[in-house]
């Protein structure tokens, strides 16, 4: 079995609203597979269907070889899941949470002792094991949640925005753990809206408005952007975005902090056109230079090519 997850034409509707629209993909064993997209893109709904928490409206999905609608129990025994919001018990201690989930996953006896030690060490929680979970800092809570999700050594791990809200250093160390699992053969399926985090994935499914609008390795996705991108630095970025949007030869304009990224048809033409257009409106350009596309540009470009607007 080389495919850990097989998904075909998976759809979930909530009334009239289609949260996930006809999504298909396969994930290989040992792969780190990422969902990238803004809130409301359908990442969480997809993960909930694959973990047996939400019933698909239509379509098929097999996780670890089991059908997510008819073999939910087997699916659940073969996966670990860490939900978007911290959802362990804040009024239990670290150790009590570990023991609870060990019990629920039937990790017993010697194995329990071994796994308990392992989780405490992995999550660096040995000094905090008798602390109430609710009193821990968010980074610790998230490592504990990860630990509880892998107590039973599942072959597939689902992480729904696992690092939201923590600082970049904690995020980096969390990803070191994820790499460790993948190297040991665990398949990791992770959703994120952090671009830098998406770079760590082996393959990325870019989602917007319930659909996968691109699916490839991060560097391939970037290489696929054929149009040049110009970074324009000015005093008033929001105003500049407004001015440039709709200009001929400028395909997409997005704000990145103080800078503005413009996807253009022709680099040389645009490099003359942009300062002229801005000067006419009374704005000066501090700098203008071509840049390598980031995943954010990839996202913007994918949305444009799929003919849509960004959800949210």
């Amino acid at each position: 079995m080389s495919d850990a997850v097989r998904v075909s034409q998976l759809t979930r509707k909530f009334g009239d609203f289609t949260a996930v629209d006809d999504v298909s993909f396969d994930v290989q064993q040992g792969e780190i597979f990422g969902f990238l997209g803004p809130n409301g893109a359908g990442k969480t709904t997809t993960i909930k269907m694959l973990t047996g928490l939400l019933r698909p409206t239509s379509g098929k999905a097999r996780v670890a070889g089991f059908d997510v609608t008819t073999e939910i129990d087997r699916v659940k025994r073969n996966i670990g899941y860490m939900s978007q919001l911290f959802s362990l018990y804040p009024d239990l201690t670290v150790l009590e949470n570990i023991q609870l989930f060990a019990g629920l996953y039937n990790v017993e006896g010697d194995r329990l002792e071994r796994r308990k030690e392992w989780v405490l060490e992995m999550a660096r929680l040995d000094d905090y094991k008798d602390r109430l979970t609710g009193e821990l800092a968010l980074g610790y809570k998230q490592r504990l949640a990860l630990g509880c999700a892998v107590l039973h050594e599942p072959p597939i791990l689902f992480l729904d925005e696992p690092t939201s809200g923590v600082d970049p250093i904690s995020r980096r160390s969390f990803w070191d753990l994820i790499y460790g699992f993948a190297e040991a053969g665990t398949t990791v399926i992770v959703s994120t809206h952090y671009m830098e985090e998406a770079e760590y994935c082996h393959r990325l499914a870019v989602m917007n408005r319930g659909s996968i609008i691109a699916l490839d390795r991060p560097d391939s996705l970037k290489a696929a952007i054929s149009e040049p991108i110009l970074e324009v630095t000015t005093g008033d970025a929001p105003r500049v975005v407004e001015l440039l949007r709709g200009e001929t030869g400028i395909l997409e304009v997005t704000m990145f902090g103080r800078a503005v990224h413009a996807i253009v048809e022709d680099q040389a033409v645009a490099e003359r056109q942009i300062p002229r257009a801005l000067a006419a409106a009374g704005h000066s350009v501090e700098s203008i230079r071509p840049i390598e596309p980031s995943l954010e540009d990839v996202f913007v470009s994918c949305v444009r090519r799929s003919g849509g607007t960004v959800a949210g």
Partner: protein, 371 residues
């Protein structure tokens, strides 16, 4: 059902319960507080009724009548107004509930063998007390009259009733109330305790993590139930001890039978609370539902205060669906009459049905799927 997962759920629930002051108060303080409150507040025994006496005759015979009132124990003479108007004021201001007026002609009429009229003024704004006071007064006056008759003519009364009250010899309403009260309090507490448990997990988001594990809903429901069954049994034991020691209620029946039937009742009532919790998924709503759906039926339709046999037929039919009805019969029967399984098997059967129905509802309404 997997014992390890069941145990993990039960243990977790017990730890959470131990750390939650609100649940602890509800589990241990509220039943005792309710028992003391209702035990003292609800009483049909009316003693020491405030009485004012206006004795216009002031004779040996009139004093004997006043003595009869005073020594009955039902009346306290707190005022002796001199004028009729004063008596009226006393009644109006609520200082006394009853005024006994003996006219100056009382002794003369009796001596002459005529009918001697006395007047009894009652405060009817509390109709219940007024009726009881009237009955007490009538009884005292009849006895006094018969004494007068017997003394004068040396007759013997043709019929003498030797009454003896069974099961509650002193006719103390407290003996009747406390055993029923245990049942009513446990109906309310049990549903309130569990009404929060599943809703809390939905509200806090922990249900999502729980639902992603292979735990079966049967294990969740029964695992959560176990610590509360323990608390429920402890509460009943506490209420029984309080009933015996504080209120002096007799316990005549078999305590093991009481324990067994209590266990059945608790399983039904606790499961019912959990059913509400799983169905509405909100702590506030669930606790309101739990109170409304248990409190009123338990108080009004269980036979605790109002006798079921005097209710309109339609209401009587409804009472068969009120679990507290059967448990009230059980506690009263075992406490006061000392009855055994030969009498209580009907109640036992009803409670087995309620326990099974409660569990089924709780398990059915609990879904591990999100919406």
């Amino acid at each position: 059902m997997n014992p390890a997962r069941l145990w993990a759920m039960a243990r977790k629930e017990a730890i959470q319960l131990r750390r939650d002051p609100r649940s602890l108060a509800m589990a241990f303080l509220l039943p005792v507080a309710l028992l003391l409150f209702f035990g003292y507040a609800i009483s049909y025994d009316i003693n020491n009724i405030e009485l004012a006496v206006l004795d216009g005759s002031n004779s040996e015979r009139s004093r004997a009548l006043v003595d009869a009132f005073e020594s009955s124990g039902y009346f306290d003479i707190i005022e002796r107004p001199a004028r009729y108007d004063d008596a009226d004021d006393l009644l109006q201001s609520g200082k006394v509930r009853v005024v006994l007026v003996i006219p100056p002609s009382f002794d003369r009429d009796l001596s002459a063998g005529r009918e001697a009229a006395i007047q009894l003024l009652l405060d009817g704004s509390d109709a219940n007390t007024a009726t009881i006071a009237q009955n007490y007064a009538a009884a005292i006056i009849i006895r006094y009259s018969s004494d007068v008759l017997l003394k004068a003519r040396r007759f013997v009364l043709p019929v003498q009733a030797e009454t003896r009250v069974w099961y509650n010899e002193t006719l103390e309403s407290r003996n009747m109330i406390v055993p029923g009260l245990v049942a009513v309090i446990m109906s309310i507490i049990a549903a309130m305790l569990t009404a929060l448990t599943i809703a809390r997990e939905w509200e806090r988001g922990s249900m999502e993590q729980l639902a992603a594990t292979p735990v079966h809903r049967l294990e969740v429901v029964i695992g959560k139930l176990l610590p509360y069954v323990g608390i429920g049994l402890f509460d009943v034991a506490l209420a029984i001890v309080a009933g015996l020691l504080i209120f002096g209620v007799p316990l005549r029946g078999n305590i093991l039978l009481l324990t067994g039937l209590t266990l059945l009742f608790l399983i039904g009532a606790l499961s019912f609370g959990m059913f509400i919790s799983a169905a509405v998924k909100s702590q506030v709503l669930a606790s309101q539902f739990a109170v409304i759906s248990t409190f009123l039926p338990a108080i009004l339709l269980s036979g605790f205060i109002f006798s079921i046999s005097t209710m309109p037929v339609a209401l009587q039919v409804i009472t068969y669906a009120v679990p507290a009805r059967y448990y009230v019969s059980v506690t009263k029967g075992i406490f006061l009459k000392g009855v055994g399984p030969g009498v209580l098997w009907v109640q036992g059967l009803a409670m087995i049905i309620f326990a099974a129905a409660g569990l089924t509802l709780a398990i059915r309404s609990f879904r591990k799927e999100l919406e």
